[in-house]
Amino acid sequence: MQVGRNLSASEISASGLAAERQRMEVAANNIANANSTRTPQGGPYQRQQIVFSAAYDAALGTGTRGASRLGGVKVVGIQEDPSEMPQVYQPGHPDADANGMVTMPNVKLPSEMVDLVTASRAYEANLRALRTCRDMTEQTLSLLRGTG
């Protein structure tokens, strides 16, 4: 097992776990705010989406793509979804404009649920990879014990 300045397999899997957990949090936040027409910034809630990026250890340079450069996944940021906000005719609504139209958040529940399921499956897969890494390390250590 590589210990040292290279990212080990368990760190790669841990970065995947953290990224998927953040994705789940973002999806949960979107679902909770699916009907929020007011935000501290004014205006209705805009759907947020998370941006992932594959990470490579840039410190080692851009030489040949070796396995020592693998860095897992990195969350670049959380951005607003610029897609169109639906407008609903509700004249009695406190946030209705002059025409009686209320701008609702552009959160679509089915796509949020799919995101949740995808994130949870990816989380399980990363957890499985982490567990396998731990098993492999334990087997290597058992060589020292001399019972093998």
Partner: protein
């Protein structure tokens, strides 16, 4: 291989003290039951050579050369008719011991070590693929050891030389989804399982090799 002198006893002991050679020669059909013994006396040497020079030479066996010029054959004629005792004039006596170099040949431990390393590298690549299963535009990475493994398996002379690093590159020929990602999570899980089993196999083989060596060393 030293020994002391033995009193010559034949059918009729004559009391002469002679030196005999210990191990059997091709002509040792001597009836006497005396163990032949030889004495290594570093007398000497007119040639100026160190009689007890030990030269190291690479080989696999321990050889011993004992040169001696037999002196007069005036051995024991009285009781030893067949095989006259040979007296070595211990003049130019050199002992050349060829000791094999005390290194453990690479044999299979090197190969197993390489395989374990390769398995660990492959696991890291699979972990990278699994961590990036939802990253848009990410292409699946793959590792190839075939050429390196072939070279190691061919048993070339420098099998213990610097190990080469396996190459990580993007895999071709996998379906790309709408977000530009071509990682199939089920395939990655299958690869993960397979790699874990291979690692376990290599580790167990290595453990059994080490156990054999350990029992050979300790004698238990």
């Amino acid at each position: 291989m030293f020994l002391s002198t033995a009193r010559h006893q034949g059918s009729k002991p004559c009391g002469r003290i002679v030196t005999h050679r210990r191990w059997r020669s091709s002509r040792s059909t001597h009836r006497s039951s005396i163990p032949f013994e030889a004495r290594l006396v570093a007398k000497n040497t007119s040639a100026g050579r160190d009689p007890t020079s030990i030269t190291e030479r690479s080989g696999n066996s321990l050889q011993l050369e004992l040169d001696g010029t037999p002196a007069d054959r005036a051995g024991c004629r009285h009781c030893c008719q067949r095989e006259p005792a040979r007296k070595f004039a211990l003049k130019d006596l050199t002992v050349k011991a060829e000791i094999s170099d005390m290194t453990v040949k690479p044999c299979q431990l090197d190969l197993l070590q390489q395989l374990l390393r390769f398995s660990e590298v492959r696991h890291r690549v699979i972990s990278q693929n699994v961590a990036n299963v939802n990253t848009p535009g990410y292409r699946r990475l793959d590792v190839s050891f075939d050429d390196t493994l072939k070279r190691v398996l061919a048993g070339d002379s420098d099998s213990g030389s610097a190990p080469s690093t396996p190459e990580v590159r993007e895999a071709e020929g996998f379906a790309v989804r709408a977000d530009g990602n071509n990682v199939d999570i089920d395939r990655e899980m299958g690869e993960l399982n397979r790699n874990a089993l291979l690692f376990q196999t290599y580790a167990q083989v290595l453990a059994s090799r080490l156990g054999t060596m350990r029992s050979a060393i300790t004698g238990r």
